[in-house]
């Protein structure tokens, strides 16, 4: 993630509301559009796709971002956390960021491809899987590569290349004519100066602010050539597996979400080449039982909380979605930590690896926290402070620490959000993220007729639980579209049954909307 060395913004950006006259008379290049999305990642793409399919003229939309492909950052984070293109993601077949209707899902498409290539058995297996999931079979999840290919196809169809433009957004302000102005740098180096773009509707989709750097890691990195021994899963760290393959070694792993499951799988692959590998999985506390909600309890095994997706399925569209929408701010925060939290999917392979590792002794689970970390000869010395029952401190020498505790979610960690929080005093919800209405509008930024919408991780704790998922991004886009339709925003038309079928048919044959 770029960090802004904050070269000065134009001085008039200190005000909360800027006059259009001032902007026009400044020496900065200025242009105008109707719809502007910032980020140009998966969330922006889905929003733009919705706009165009709902009738908006693509020439009135701009997507400002750092990378040409909408999935560039997502793919990078996947790759670093060892989800390669042929690996499977966590969403269901109907999590289709390239298709606003969620049909056909990736399972059906994969079956179609299998049949075309004569792989009838595999197609039949998939058919059985989607029919019997999650009761008799673990749920189908799409291959990452299939999602990327489908996004490329949809990007071509809607003309993403002409909509997306390079720009590092630095500040957003209200204008005195009911719109917004965004200051952005047209180059990464921030040397290209500053440009302005004015829009009536703004969508903020910058995703996760950055990789989470825990205090211990931060401290260690200040002392040492950090990239070698203490790594975060979301950063490139393939050298760890290369070294382990050659010489073996001891690894301390932190985090018990799906990423850590994937890392254990990767380490198990390495173990196949070099059995001289030991994994110490450091967990904060034991987890003998999962949480319960009303009459149901979440499955827990080996201190891992299991659920197929990041939230229970009904949060994506069943009765739990409604519960969440109707809950108040405090209840929403509670529900988020109850239904969400750190979980992994129950995959037979992962369960087998853990059980084998525990039995054979090359995989250990230990409860406690990392007290301190110190560089050692060819490795790291770590001190593990036991949990309440065994509060002793143990010193260990490990070759690598792999931190799979996640990405930074706090809005303050993103320069653009921080600026907005400071300038407009945006309210936050109880979960610590940006407060949004049920339409995903940031009410505090309303500048009638202008509106600012968001979605994704920044709106966690709002009206929809799984906001940071393909389906959640689609839900947020759909809700914001409803709001735009209600206010008669230019070009947006309701997608009734007939138009919906027509638009879907155009998607199916691959012609522009």
């Amino acid at each position: 993630m770029p960090t802004l060395s904050e070269p000065s913004l134009p001085s008039f950006f200190e005000q909360r509301q800027l006059s259009i006259g001032t902007l026009k008379h400044s020496s900065l290049p200025l242009e105008e559009t109707t719809y502007l999305t910032i980020g140009a990642g998966v969330g922006s793409f889905i929003w733009v796709d919705h706009l165009i399919i709902h009738g908006v003229d693509p020439t009135t939309i701009v997507a400002l971002g750092l990378e040409a492909r909408p999935y560039a950052r997502f793919r990078r984070l996947c790759r670093n956390s060892q989800i390669l293109d042929h690996d499977r993601l966590r969403s269901d077949s109907g999590g289709t960021p390239d298709n606003i209707w969620a049909w056909p899902g990736y399972a059906l498409r994969e079956m179609g491809r299998d049949l075309r290539c004569g792989r009838v058995r595999h197609a039949a297996r998939l058919a059985w899987q989607i029919f019997s999931e999650p009761v008799l079979h673990d749920p189908f999840t799409p291959q990452a590569g299939d999602v990327f290919t489908s996004l490329d196809r949809e990007a071509r169809r809607i003309g993403w290349r002409t909509i997306r433009r390079f720009g590092l957004a630095r500040a957003v302000r209200k204008t005195n004519d009911g719109r917004y102005v965004v200051a952005y740098s047209p180059t990464m180096a921030l040397k290209g100066g500053c440009r302005l773009i004015v829009a009536r509707y703004v969508h903020l989709a910058m995703g996760y602010p950055r990789v989470r750097v825990l205090p211990e890691l931060h401290q260690y990195r200040q002392q040492m050539d950090y990239s070698r021994h203490f790594v975060n899963t979301y950063e490139p760290h393939d050298h760890v597996y290369r070294r382990l393959r050659q010489t073996g070694g001891a690894i301390l792993l932190r985090g018990r979400g799906i990423t850590s499951s994937r890392i254990i799988q990767k380490l198990y692959e390495v173990y196949g080449h070099n059995p001289n590998i030991r994994i110490l999985h450091l967990m904060r506390s034991p987890k003998p039982n999962g949480p319960h909600y009303e009459y149901a309890r979440r499955l827990t095994r080996n201190h891992f909380d299991h659920q197929p997706y990041n939230f229970p399925k009904a949060c994506f569209g069943g009765d739990l979605r409604r519960v969440m929408e109707q809950a108040n701010d405090r209840e929403r925060a509670e529900l988020i930590s109850l239904w969400g939290g750190i979980t992994t999917a129950k995959r037979p392979l992962w369960e087998r690896i853990i059980t084998t590792g525990l039995t054979e002794g090359w995989y250990h689970i230990r409860f406690g926290r990392l007290a301190w970390v110190e560089p050692a000869q060819n490795g790291i010395t770590v001190a593990v402070q036991g949990d309440v029952a065994w509060s002793e401190e143990t010193q260990l020498r490990v070759d690598f620490i792999i931190d799979a505790t996640g990405l930074e979610v706090a809005p303050e960690r993103s320069p653009l959000w921080r600026d907005l929080l400071q300038c407009y005093g945006l309210p936050k919800n109880r979960a610590g993220q940006i407060k949004v209405t049920n339409d995903f509008e940031i009410a505090a930024l309303r500048n009638t007729p202008g509106r600012v919408f968001t979605g994704g991780i920044m709106s966690l704790g709002g009206p929809f639980a799984p906001v940071d998922s393909f389906t959640g991004l689609q839900y947020a886009a759909q809700k914001s579209l409803e709001s735009l339709i209600a206010q008669g925003a230019p070009g947006v038309r309701r997608l009734g049954p007939v138009r919906s079928v027509v638009q879907w048919s155009r998607w199916a044959v691959g012609v522009s909307p």
Partner: protein, 147 residues
């Protein structure tokens, strides 16, 4: 689509009232008797409204609160069994002073019933997995509700 109770009812009503009705009329023509297939359709709808309450209660026992395809098929089979049981429950109807389940011809064979019921169920099952999402964009997010 993960249904809510209202969603189950509304979707059942809409699909049985359109596609279900069309298929039923087709079977009426095929069997040379419109009353029996239409009466069966009516029973599937009415009993279904009650079944849906049971399904929804069971669904809330699941952590994911979902209703997998396998359960849908299981539910469909159970509904068919109950209805066929009612058709054949002569002792019950005799006790009520009726000749049989009202509207259903006494000569209805299991094959006719299975063919009619099976076709309606399969077509609706397939429509719910795809075309419904295309026709009604918000349907999947609303747990099957239209209103």
């Amino acid at each position: 689509m993960t249904p809510t109770l209202w969603g189950r009812w509304q979707t059942r009503l809409l699909l049985l009232g359109t596609i279900g009705l069309l298929i039923t009329i087709g079977f009426g023509a095929l069997f040379g008797n419109f009353v029996t297939p239409l009466a069966l359709l009516g029973y599937v709808l009415l009993l279904g409204l009650a079944w849906d309450i049971v399904y929804q209660a069971l669904q809330s026992l699941r952590w994911d609160r979902d209703w997998p395809p396998l359960f849908m098929v299981g539910g469909g089979l159970l509904e068919a069994l109950l209805l066929w049981g009612l058709i054949k429950a002569d002792f019950l109807w005799a006790g009520l002073g009726l000749a049989g389940l009202p509207g259903v011809a006494p000569g209805l064979t299991l094959a006719q019933f299975a063919l009619h019921y099976g076709t309606v169920f399969t077509v609706i099952f397939l429509i719910m997995f795809g075309p419904m999402k295309v026709i009604f964009l918000k349907w999947r997010f609303r747990g099957g509700q239209f209103f």
